[in-house]
């Protein structure tokens, strides 16, 4: 079963998409791991970065994983678009001697080497706590979901709803069944329409990822509602940081994508080198509020040094 051990290790990193800043940071983390490992000496490590051709198409991601399997890379770090659809290709990769490490979003299988991810449920709970405190436990709250079948965001959404229900019974959820879709454009449209419907007596909003948060933010800004409703989002990007400074966004649950990419590659390489690894690695999630923006500790998470590792990024 052991492939003849070549000197160089090729690690394929497969994100859910390539165009969002979140994935840029993961890419940077993976490159960081590559550079560090190569500096440490030993077998050289080479990272390949490749997303699905169409951003939200599971079949396309399946094809990418299969391609890497037939290419016989040393290992794959995968952020699965779906917890089920990627099971077969991952199992087939393992059968073909290509170990797979899962990051970011869960896979319903135990065929993987390890699972490196944020505790998404916890992220949702943090957001619920922040919003609950801001609203003093009462008011109308709207949650815009991301997309059908996305495990990580569903966990955030569920965590958020559950915590609100348990700890802040005075808060009413006015809508939690509309989907933003995967692009800014769809998210913005959905937000605009929902804000018109529920905006009059709305007190708080939660969105579970980068695109939905920015879509909602743009809608709020364009409609002149920004700053008038309490708004908690997820993930970090420049436009969101600016909004926090303008008090249009009251908190973001920030993961550490760079660390996720970094640990993903490091852990997979360690496993390939037969070093002991953990089966589940939590990369942490923090609630960043406008007041915390200038703390040095937050700087590194909200604006990870991507440029250092990605030319032109």
């Amino acid at each position: 079963r052991d492939a003849p051990k070549s000197k160089a290790l090729t690690i394929a990193v497969v994100p859910k998409g390539t165009t969002h800043e979140f994935w840029k940071a993961i890419h940077a983390g993976a490159v960081q791991a590559e550079q560090e490992l190569n500096a440490l000496g030993g077998d050289s490590v080479h990272v390949i970065w490749k997303g699905p051709l169409r951003e939200d198409d599971r079949e396309q991601q399946v094809q990418v994983v299969e391609g890497f399997t037939s290419q016989h890379v040393s290992g794959i770090v995968l952020a699965p678009l779906d917890s089920k659809a990627l099971v077969r290709p991952v199992e087939e990769a393992r059968a073909a001697g290509v170990p797979v490490l899962i990051m970011d979003s869960a896979l319903e299988s135990d065929a993987m080497v390890s699972y490196v991810a944020t505790d998404n449920q916890k992220g949702g709970e943090l957001a619920a706590d922040r919003l609950g405190q801001l609203l003093n436990g009462k008011g109308n709250v709207l949650m815009l979901r991301l997309q059908e079948g996305s495990a990580s965001t569903t966990a955030r959404e569920d965590g958020f709803l559950k915590r609100l229900k348990d700890n802040y019974p005075g808060i009413r959820i006015v809508s939690s069944d509309q989907y933003a879709g995967v692009t800014r454009e769809t998210a913005k449209k959905a937000s605009e329409n929902l804000l018109n419907r529920f905006g009059a007596d709305l007190n708080g909003v939660f969105t579970p990822n980068e695109t939905s948060t920015i879509g909602m933010l743009l809608a709020l800004q364009d409609m002149g509602k920004a700053g008038k409703v309490r708004f908690v989002g997820f993930d970090a990007s420049q436009i969101m940081v600016d909004a926090m400074r303008a008090h249009q966004l009251d908190g973001i649950a920030v993961q550490n994508p760079m660390r996720m990419g970094y640990l993903g590659v490091r852990t997979l390489v360690a496993s390939l080198r037969r070093q002991p690894i953990e089966r589940r690695i939590d990369t942490g999630v923090t609630m960043v509020t406008p007041e915390m923006l200038d703390l040095p500790a937050t700087k590194d998470i909200i604006a990870p040094p991507i440029g250092k590792y990605l030319p032109g990024g």
Partner: protein, 320 residues
């Protein structure tokens, strides 16, 4: 005369029905019919409406363009790249329009010189333009510094007296202009002639090849502007945006009375078609209905609109 009016009113009637139905269904009709909501719908319509203006020209001329979504993405990315690298926004805007026009000229040239049907040429261009967009953007979204470009489609413009976003006014102005060109100028009437009977147009001494290239080029310029608007709306150039927009845009033209056989279509109709779809989306979302209901309703409306149009036409012929 009467018949032309019925034909023109058909889509408008559809629009009124859509709006009325939702106003009756919703528990907050006041909010649904508010000027606030109207503004939202209008600024959401801009992308499809602008695209539909160009597509109307192409469809009247007897062609089709599947590459419009990809062209929007490409020109949006180019605008963003221009502004990011310090160009004045107006220059970036012009560049986007020209880039769109260039894609159009390419489409037109391949269609006329290689004599491949528009469906195939623009299907190929769909892949090419989107590929180039991703290439230029390094497969990422291109974020831009804040300039006035970002305000083109802000629902409530900074200058209160504008009432509607600049983008909406621009679209309106272009719609009126292109409608005028199509109805009242030599160029416009020749586009109708080309779509209605290409052989006859050629026999009357019209250089149909050059005309076709010109039509795709003009439409391309409009798609370029649409790309710039899209980038203004999202505040970033996104190479994956507007995926499948071609079908929405074609649907708008078809709902508005355009015929894929060429020779028929109007800007007014296409604008109404775009509004029908925007109001449907908006209404379904306000009702809290899931997306799939929208998709089903829009699908049914597309077929029904064309079927009614056919029925009307054959009724008119038999009563001529």
């Amino acid at each position: 005369m009467l018949r032309t009016w019925i034909a023109r009113l058909g889509p408008a009637l559809g629009l009124v029905i859509v709006v009325l139905v939702f106003a009756l269904l919703t528990d907050a009709p006041g909010r649904y019919l508010s000027t606030f909501n109207l503004r939202i719908v209008l600024s959401q319509t801009v992308i499809v409406a602008l695209g539909a203006i160009g597509m109307t020209m192409i469809i009247i001329s007897g062609g089709i363009d599947l590459s419009v979504g990809a062209t929007i993405a490409l020109t949006g990315v180019m605008t963003a790249l221009g502004i990011r690298s310090g160009w004045p926004p107006s220059l970036a805007l012009v560049a986007a329009v020209l880039a769109g026009g260039f894609v159009g000229v390419l489409n037109g040239m391949v269609i006329t010189t290689l004599r491949v049907v528009p469906f195939i040429v623009t299907l190929g261009m769909l892949g090419i333009a989107r590929g180039v967009a991703k290439w230029l953007a390094h497969e990422q979204t291109v974020n831009v510094p804040t300039t006035w470009m970002n305000d083109l489609l802000v629902t409530f413009p900074r200058q209160g007296w504008l009432v509607l976003p600049i983008g909406v006014w621009t679209t309106l102005a272009l719609a009126v202009f292109v409608a005028f060109v199509l109805r009242r100028t030599v160029f416009g009437r020749r586009i109708f002639a080309l779509g209605s009977n290409e052989a006859a147009a050629r026999a009357c001494g019209i250089d149909t090849n050059r005309l076709k290239v010109a039509v795709y080029a003009c439409a391309g310029c409009l798609f370029g502007l649409t790309g710039a608007m899209q980038m203004s709306r999202l505040r970033q150039g996104d190479p994956t945006v507007a995926n499948g927009a071609e079908l929405d845009i074609i649907a708008a033209v078809v709902i508005g009375g355009g015929s894929l056989n060429g020779g028929e279509g109007s800007i007014l109709g296409s604008m109404i078609g775009a509004l029908v779809m925007a109001f449907l989306r908006n209404g379904c979302q306000q009702m809290g209905w899931p997306n799939y209901i929208q998709e089903i309703i829009i699908g049914v409306i597309i077929v029904a609109a064309v079927a009614l149009d056919r029925a009307r036409a054959s009724w008119a012929t038999s009563h001529a």
